[in-house]
């Protein structure tokens, strides 16, 4: 085994190299026009090798293996859990987001302990089932997508195998979410693994003291294994090597998450590990990283809100700096909201703005006197307006102009949204034939285009149209309609 075998990064991998190993019959079974097009898709990670049936035949076995190797991500992809509830972590192809889309949004696990009661007796008390249900029920709708929490981490604070076993059993009965089992004691871990049989939890964690027993458990129960080497990258790498040689293939690395004065070491360790994996192609470090913002709760003594605050910002920093999975404690909405939104954001494709189709959308049952709003096709703008219009519950037309996925303010500043474009959009949408009034409501952020827009509407043959300037935030639309709709003749002079 060559430890320092350098893998080709996404940048160096060319479709030609991939093409040369494909059957090159242009059979189209993959759905692409030819093998070259399929090769391009493979390089962009928009297709998988399994979509090429001929390649899976015996005669192409060598090529298939070579391609698998060639396309393997720098950071190994590891599965925790089984079936439809499994989560994949890692699988990163690059270090920086601008190089290529990050894969596998980092799942967030929340802890329960084997000493918590199953159900709370008071509202203050923390309880296993209550916390599990909170994780399962967390939901925030952000630009049309449901953001959720992901996993349960069961910790043994009792240090007793039987107690841990029954806690894990209770959790497995309560939820199908993937699990992390946390103990440094192999006999406790085994009790948990027995209880979580068939669930393929992540074993947290192997240390310099228990590594052999933990490795045996990982092999025996076929579970991925985390290595915990707090602030000791020599040990982390040595244990990675040892585990690999021992036969444990699915590893997760934890260089330690240190709150407060340890933030610097934490961020530096995560960065060094990821960078060395990506830039030197160091395979011993090419595994997902686990961050544990939960450790803020075991650091400096402080009020609950202070600790939750620290945990929240530490989580966001680790999300930016290469954590592939997190363990947290606070389930407060104000703590989790920025974390799950930031996660959603940095895992989007950096090359294209999130956008919706520019066209005329109808809400409710709009008639000839319904108001016509205009907005941009940046997904966030659109879904914000959409959710407001829906919550007001009336009948509207919403005309979405093509601003190449840019928000109103930036689109106006960068001339992606101009009076000319607005007039064209109105004309092409055919909305003028559906209504009897001649009013267009512009977003408040585009107020400065209002005069010019009336002129441009004339130029495309829409005479007598007027512009009403709407609110800067679409939550103000209800108020605007109350005050200004239906418009009285002459009022908008």
């Amino acid at each position: 085994m060559t430890e320092r075998e350098v893998k080709a990064g996404v940048k160096q991998l060319s479709p030609i190299d991939v093409y040369m190993l494909l059957p090159r019959t242009n059979c189209k079974e993959c759905g692409e026009a030819n093998c070259m097009a399929f090769a391009a898709k493979l390089v962009n990670r928009e297709a998988s090798l399994e979509q090429c049936p001929p390649l899976l035949k015996k005669e192409h076995e060598d090529s298939y293996k070579k391609l698998q190797e060639m396309l393997a991500p720098i950071i190994k992809e590891i599965t925790i859990g089984t079936g439809e509830h499994a989560v994949k972590i890692g699988g990163k192809l690059v270090m920086y987001r601008h190089e290529f889309t990050y894969h596998n949004p980092a799942p967030i696990a929340f802890d329960v302990t084997d000493e918590m009661p199953l159900h709370a007796k008071s509202s203050e008390e923390e309880a296993v089932i209550d916390r599990v249900k909170k994780v399962e029920n967390f939901l925030y709708n952000y630009i049309g997508r449901d953001l959720r929490l992901d996993m349960i981490a069961v910790r043994s604070t009792s240090n007793d195998p039987t107690t841990f076993k029954s806690a894990v059993e209770a959790v497995t009965k309560a939820t199908d979410l993937p699990l992390i089992l946390c103990s440094f004691d192999p006999s406790i871990m085994e009790a948990g693994l027995i209880a979580a049989s068939g669930r393929k939890p992540l074993i947290y964690a192997a240390t310099k003291d228990n590594w052999k027993e933990m490795a045996d458990l990982a092999l025996m129960y076929e579970c991925p294994l985390a290595i915990f080497a707090p602030n000791d990258l020599n040990l982390l790498r040595s244990l990675s090597k040892t585990m690999s040689e021992y036969g444990v293939e699915d590893l997760v690395l934890d260089p330690g998450t240190f709150p407060d004065e340890g933030v610097s070491a934490t961020i530096n360790n995560f960065t060094m590990v990821r960078r060395t994996a990506c830039k030197s192609g160091d395979r011993l470090l090419g595994f997902p990283l686990i961050g544990t913002p939960i450790t803020t709760w075991f650091g400096e003594k402080a009020p609950k809100e202070t600790l939750a605050w620290k945990e929240a910002y530490l989580a966001s920093m680790l999300m930016s700096r290469y954590a592939d999975i997190l363990i947290m404690r606070s389930l407060d909405g104000w703590v989790q909201l920025p974390t799950v939104i930031w996660r959603f954001n940095i895992y989007t494709d950096p090359r294209k703005p999130v956008s919706v189709d520019p066209q005329l959308y109808e809400f409710g049952k709009p008639n000839e006197m319904s108001p016509v709003f205009l907005t941009t096709n940046y997904a966030l703008t659109y879904f914000t307006v959409e959710s407001d219009l829906k919550s007001f519950g009336g009948d509207y037309y919403l005309l979405v102009a093509d601003t190449e996925g840019i928000s109103v303010e930036s689109a106006v500043a960068g001339r992606y949204l101009t009076a000319e474009k607005i007039a064209e959009a109105v004309k092409n949408s055919g909305v003028a034939e559906k209504i009897k009034h001649k009013y267009l409501i512009l977003p408040g952020m585009a107020a400065r285009l209002s005069g010019e827009t009336e002129e441009e509407l004339k130029n495309v043959g829409l005479h007598g149209w007027r512009v009403i300037v709407g609110p800067r935030d679409s939550s103000g639309i209800a108020k605007l309609l109350n005050e200004k709709w239906p418009p009285k003749e002459g009022e908008e002079e």
Partner: protein, 411 residues
């Protein structure tokens, strides 16, 4: 098969018969406790019987032919480090009396020679700095912020003093919002008077914020530059729109003549940022230029800001001289996100934590992307940023013993 295993297999078959099941069939046992130890089975027997649901479930992985290690195999870690041909310029805001101004503590930013906080390569020469926003008129502010300034927002100088004395602002931004022709259209002379008052009220370096109208800003900046000669204020900001309106040179010439700095603002577009920097440099030394590449709020496009800052910093370090200017983030934009201030229901409360956390996360994300100067507003967000910045500037302080046993720690 060895004798012992055969025996075990037979025993297992017997057991299965007892259970009314045949060997070789997949079965699932629910709520049945088996004490494996008592039946003297070995694992291969279990596997051959294809028993599911009885532990241990798998033994097949006993495969690796090589010898398993018995001690930890030493594999020391060597970090990948890199040399960068480029370096970010060092820029000083404010000037002391002996330097021709009247500021007590000028502030130097920039000078980075590595990506942000790569302490394993080089500790940054200057820590990123926070400038606190104040306005020359009453503005619409989220309640979470308003609480802290309500009593002073008709007295800009008092507001400025609070930001410096109580919140530890190292730099202060006075936004001359009232100069907007669509708001109050305050004259350049009046705006200059406001700046003069602030210069007397506090002794930190100033950033002069315009209203966004290219021509008006040019007129205001020129006048302020003349009055504040030698103070090294930062004029925020100039744009390509100013160039199109033919007024960019007025500002850059005034800045050069009276010894100030200029901030070039572009909207998430590095080519335009470079173009603007070139135009500013026609009249102003390159060491007096800062960039604002646009800060979008968390949830409202922060990822675009994050990525453009990472790209800009990397390009600068790799030698693109037109991007080697320190960068400023208008982090207060975080409050544009409705998640920062809106009532979303009881499960997302309290807003007086959610709001400042929104500003904090926006700031920290850009801190890690390489921003040198932050415009901020909420005292709690400012405090956290000051603290984390200081922590990130210091190498090593991790105490493994503090978290060594976190998995079994009680809260």
């Amino acid at each position: 098969m060895v004798e012992k295993e055969k025996k075990a297999d037979t025993k297992l078959d017997e057991l299965l018969k007892l259970l009314g099941l045949e060997s070789g069939r997949d079965i699932e046992l629910e709520d049945v406790e088996l004490n494996i130890g008592e039946i003297i089975l070995d694992s291969s027997a279990l596997t051959s019987a294809a028993l599911k649901g009885i532990t241990p479930p798998a033994m097949k992985a006993a495969a690796p032919p090589s010898v398993k290690p018995t001690t930890i195999l030493e594999a020391p870690f060597t970090p990948f480090v890199q040399e960068y041909p480029g370096k970010i310029r060092e820029v000083t805001l404010g000037a002391t009396k002996s330097q021709g101004g009247s500021r007590g503590k000028p502030v130097t930013i920039g000078g980075a020679t590595t990506p942000a906080f790569y302490l394993f390569e080089q500790t940054p020469p200057n820590p990123p700095v926070i400038s606190v926003d104040v306005f020359d008129m009453e503005v619409t502010l989220p309640k979470a912020i308003r609480t802290y300034v309500e009593d002073v927002w008709h007295d800009t100088a008092a507001w400025a003093k609070r930001a410096v004395d109580q919140w530890g602002a190292k730099v202060l931004t006075i936004h001359l919002l009232s100069t907007d022709p669509l708001i109050k259209d305050t004259s350049p002379a009046e705006a200059t008077k406001t700046v003069e008052e602030i210069l007397q009220a506090v002794d930190v370096p100033l950033i002069i914020g315009g209203c966004g109208d290219p021509k008006k800003d040019a007129a205001v900046f020129s006048k302020v530059a003349e009055m504040a000669e030698g103070e090294r204020v930062l004029l925020s900001s100039v744009t390509l729109d100013m160039d199109e309106a033919g007024v960019l040179d007025t500002v850059t010439k005034a800045a050069a003549k009276y010894g100030h700095l200029v901030l070039g603002f572009t909207a998430l577009d590095l080519n335009r940022a470079k173009e603007l920097n070139r135009k500013i440099a026609d009249h102003l030394p390159e060491d007096d230029i800062l960039m604002d590449l646009t800060t979008a709020a968390l949830g409202y496009g922060l990822e675009y800001s994050f990525t453009i800052h990472e790209r800009a910093r990397m390009a600068a370090l790799m030698g693109d001289t037109e991007l080697q200017h320190p960068v400023l983030s208008g982090t207060t934009n975080a409050w544009a996100a409705r998640e920062a201030w809106m009532n979303l229901g009881p499960e997302w409360e309290p807003r007086n934590l959610r709001g400042p956390l929104w500003e904090t996360v926006t700031a920290l994300s850009l801190l890690l992307a390489g921003v040198d100067l932050f415009m901020m507003m909420h005292p709690d967000a400012i405090k956290t940023m000051q603290r984390v910045t200081q922590q990130l500037m210091t190498k090593g302080e991790a105490k493994p013993e503090n978290i060594a046993n976190w998995v079994s720690a009680r809260i």
